[in-house]
């Protein structure tokens, strides 16, 4: 037994004197991000699913469907941005499930009773999600290079592409965190992955939009995934990108801001009772 009564008399400071609130939030966020990554490493099934499935899908598209799809470039080069976004979808579902697990188990009560801000908990999940996605992105690029992906992007194009992808991942991860707060069970949160995974299909990710039925053009042209895909593809292939980057950034920032705000409201509502 190491404890004693001394701490009763140390007033507001003392043992573990608490740094200013802002700094504590950042420190807690780092701790929570570390936790998220550890939990990811231990949850190998989910990691393998979220990494292997997009890679398998890429191989499927390139070798089974790709021959029949005329995109004007090698199909593998055409499809890589779409596969990256698929990965982000898988990663996001893990984030949603993680947040729901925290909220439905007892651990959120412990965190709150330790004065850990909800923002730190959620941002920790998002940070882990971003790191997971960076790993899957590297993997996808690696496999793509092996099967003939040959981008023609200059250094600035790469930087811009990385920035747009990162922004998209960040937006999707916060959206997932908000969904995780909304879901009452991990299974429900997992169902969210289906929606996000589906979104790249009616876009220019896998086939050119003008090959789709005309009634789908309106949706496919104006949904958030399409400008992100067009931007990534244009930058990687050194093609003109037109207004796509601005649309992509606007979509991502919009989703990001709305998701962060929704997460704040949902967290407060969820913990009020």
């Amino acid at each position: 037994m190491s404890s004693n009564v001394r701490h009763l008399d140390r007033g507001s400071g003392g043992w573990g004197a608490v740094p200013p609130a802002g700094w504590a939030v950042v420190a807690d966020w780092v701790t929570m991000a570390g936790r998220g990554l550890r939990l990811t490493r231990r949850n190998l099934d989910a990691v393998i699913t979220s990494l292997a499935l997009p890679v398998l899908l890429m191989l499927l598209f390139v070798y089974l469907f790709g021959g029949a799809i005329d995109t004007g470039t090698r199909y593998v080069t055409y499809v890589v941005p779409g596969v990256l976004l698929l990965c982000a979808g898988f990663g996001a579902s893990m984030t949603a499930v993680g947040v729901t697990n925290d909220m439905t188990g007892g651990i959120i009560d412990r965190f709150r009773s330790m004065d850990v801000a909800g923002a730190s908990v959620l941002a920790g999940h998002v940070a882990a999600s971003v790191v997971r996605n960076l790993a899957s992105t590297v993997l996808v690029f690696g496999v793509a290079f092996l099967i003939g992906f040959r981008p023609s992007a200059g250094p600035l194009d790469w930087v811009a592409a990385a920035g747009v992808l990162l922004l998209f991942i960040l937006a999707i991860s916060w959206l997932a965190a908000a969904v995780g707060l909304l879901a009452r069970s991990p299974e429900a949160a997992g169902g969210f992955s289906f929606l996000i995974m589906f979104l790249p299909y009616p876009s220019s990710a896998f086939v050119p939009i003008d090959t789709m039925p005309s009634w789908l053009h309106g949706f496919a042209d104006n949904q958030p995934v399409t400008p992100v895909i067009e931007t990534l593809r244009g930058l990687l292939l050194g093609l003109p990108v037109g207004s796509s980057p601005w649309k992509a950034v606007a979509w991502c920032l919009g989703i990001l801001v709305a998701s962060v705000a929704a997460a704040g409201v949902l967290f407060r509502r969820r913990t009020a009772a």
Binding site: M1, S2, S3, N4, V5, H7, L8, D9, G11, S12, W15, G16, A17, V18, P19, A21, A24, A27, D28, T31, G34, R35, R38, L39, R42, N43, G105, G106, I107, D109, R110, F111, R112, S113, M114, D115, V116, T271, A272, A273
Partner: protein, 328 residues
């Protein structure tokens, strides 16, 4: 800081929709003591703990914990408490050591100090060997101990334990009790909720009985027991016929019937003269009563007398009834 009580609660009210969970609760807990909030499921115990641990706000009333108001000085309160809720609040996919180290970091300890504290707590809770395995592989009792250890990372002044032994096997329950006893030795104030009368009786310096959101009694175990008739004479009858015969003779005076074990209980003041007279009265032929035992009133009796209904889950009553009457 003046020697004010560890916990002061007055007029606490909380409703969920039309359901009134707490209906004007007043409590006071002295520093360094163990306080038990005893009540059946749905009595409002968990809500009371959640309000005191700053997790929910009361609709009305005031509460101070470790000298700080749970609303106005919420952050200060959080720095002085530990909480172990009903659901294990540790990560299954982290090791015990990682869980505790994380809690240490969240409590503001630098990395090395967090590591040291984790090792210390694992040692103290007899978890050092399992410390490097993920918690998913641990038994329920071990998790519960880890959960307790996690709430001690910050060396709290006040520790809240919400039904700390519910669902534990008897051995793990003993282990938790021992930890609580040790903690009190070190000056920590413990506020626990329980449905188990035996647990409150065993651990707590003071007990408040919560029923329907109100404190219906508050005092030491002995004080509460004094509120009902002092003792009970349990008669173990020789055979079923004798059971029926004695039960009929006592009629409404019998306070306990257990046909399966052929036990009839009747209130007594516990004096030899009264017990002798009762025995002569129910068994003039000296054939019917096989054995007898005199018990002090249990908290079960207290609860029944105070609220008009039995406390706790059914298994608790089974457990109480399993005790063989000791021959006096």
């Amino acid at each position: 800081m003046p020697r004010e009580p560890a916990i002061e609660v007055s007029g606490l009210e909380k409703s969920y929709g039309s359901l009134r969970v707490l209906d004007g609760v007043d409590l006071e807990v002295q520093r360094g003591s163990v306080f038990a909030l005893l009540g059946p499921n749905g009595a409002g115990k968990t809500t009371a703990v959640r309000i005191l641990a700053t997790l929910v706000r009361a609709d009305a009333g005031r509460a101070r914990v470790a000298g700080f108001d749970v609303v106005a000085d919420r952050r200060q309160v959080r720095r002085h408490i530990g909480l172990t809720g009903q659901f294990a609040a540790v990560d299954d996919l982290q090791t015990g050591e990682e869980n505790l180290r994380m809690m240490g970091r969240l409590a503001g300890l630098p990395g090395r100090a967090a590591r040291r504290r984790a090792a210390e707590l694992l040692e103290r809770f007899d978890l050092a060997e399992a410390g490097r395995r993920t918690v998913a592989t641990w038994s329920g009792g071990m998790r519960r101990r880890l959960d307790l250890a996690a709430s001690l990372v910050r060396e709290p002044a006040v520790l809240f334990l919400d039904e700390p032994t519910t669902g534990l096997d008897p051995r793990s329950r003993q282990a938790v009790w021992q930890v609580v006893a040790e903690l009190v030795g070190s000056g920590v104030t413990v506020f626990l909720t329980t449905q188990y009368l035996e647990e409150a009786d065993r651990l707590a310096d003071r007990i408040a009985v919560l029923d329907g959101g109100r404190v219906v009694a508050d005092g030491t175990s002995a004080q509460l027991k004094e509120q009902v008739a002092g003792h009970r004479l349990d008669l173990v009858l020789a055979d079923p016929a004798a059971f029926e015969d004695v039960a009929r003779r006592l009629g409404g005076r019998a306070v306990r019937h257990d046909r399966d074990r052929r036990v009839v209980g009747v209130a007594t003041d516990g004096s030899a003269a009264h017990v002798r007279a009762l025995l002569d009265e129910v068994d003039p032929a000296r054939q019917a009563v096989d054995r007898f035992a005199v018990h002090s009133a249990t908290l079960d009796d207290v609860f029944l007398a105070l609220t008009g209904h039995p406390a706790g889950p059914p298994d608790q009553h089974d457990h109480q009834d399993e005790k063989e009457p000791a021959n006096v």
